[in-house]
Symmetry: C2
Subunit: 188 residues, 2 copies
DNA sequence: GTCTATAAGTCGATAGAC
DNA sequence: GTCTATCGACTTATAGAC
């Protein structure tokens, strides 16, 4: 049983994704919840807080997942596979909220934006370290690290869009296909 | 010498990209143009028109480029390379406007949205045909065509973001790296 | 905890002087 | 073609009855 607060959050994520944060009004969220806009404020304190919470939760999940992988004793190739699997898992479990990461984060209030970007930058930095390590070990092609990183992240961050139209796709098979599709592009 | 109308359009594209369409006010655009908001209406007829024009222009450029490639007698592999080159070229020449394609298009008014999606769907359909042809010829791996398509398009559509931070990167070299990075993922 | 009513501000767009 | 002034609609959020 979800708390009403959590129901509102899920509902908002769905609308933010569909219409964008700025174009989604508190009245829209209230209508989808069968309430009046004013009643929402008994459960949340502001629209910005609702939005920041969604994005910072996702950023934290990525940070935790990345730390586990980066600090493990897995091989470099296995680390990359686990990273792809992490994106697949979070996409399946938080499809709406994860969609906000690509573009909607610009609407974060200044206070949250700083914390969000800290998560994001450190995630990308650790991702880059893994790619560089693979190149050093000679298992990856000599393509500009930043181009590899941007290419992988673009695809992984856009996965929510593909997954939404293919929710019946077996999620283990999806993980396998993504790993296959993304890693063979850089393997020697 | 740009017409004032074109200056406003470029200015709006930059702001739409930075702050999002809904969060960019006519007053914001006017300020960046050193005018008052009311004066903008001597050159454009509405904010929606300004936005629709930007997105439909990009959609048309992609459609024209795709038609030339699809109807050519190039090999399948060369067609894909030309397609990647088309994205690189349009990204370099229209960095701000192209950024709106990924997420901001949802703010198109209903009238323009239909036309925009017609362009987009037909573009993706022809892209899919090229990938399928390559698989039939045995030059591409047996990965789900839709996954290949989504993976390529995610990266190509996100290129504006990478390019913005690397504007000094030689654009011929960028094209070569993108082709290398994207095609080796699916080549047998 | 939900409602009605409303405050206080911003939005796109127009009217009309110059 | 630019300006000031303003309209009417919409926004987030609050006050206070029930």
């Amino acid at each position: 049983m979800l708390s009403k607060r959590q129901e509102i959050s899920n509902c908002a994520a769905r609308l933010f994704r569909k219409k964008g944060y700025k174009a989604t009004s508190m009245r829209d969220i209230a209508e989808a919840m069968n309430m009046k806009a004013a009643s929402l404020y008994n459960h949340i304190s502001s629209k910005e807080e609702l939005f920041s919470e969604l994005l910072l939760k996702m950023a934290t999940l990525f940070t935790i997942g990345m730390e586990e992988i980066a600090q493990s004793s897995l091989s470099t190739a296995d680390k990359l596979e686990r990273l792809i699997a992490l994106h697949v898992k979070l996409t399946v479990e938080h499809t709406d909220a994860i969609s906000l990461i690509s573009g909607e984060w610009v609407h974060l209030p200044e206070s949250s934006a700083a914390e969000y970007l800290k998560h994001r930058d450190s995630y990308e930095k650790e991702f880059r370290t893994i790619i560089d390590q693979g190149k050093k070990e000679g298992i990856y092609k000599d393509i500009d690290t930043d181009i590899i990183l941007f290419s992988l992240l673009s695809t992984l961050r856009g996965l929510y869009s593909w997954y939404s139209k293919n929710k019946d796709y077996n999620s283990i098979e999806l993980e396998r296909q993504m790993i296959n599709c993304l890693t063979h592009g850089i393997n020697k």
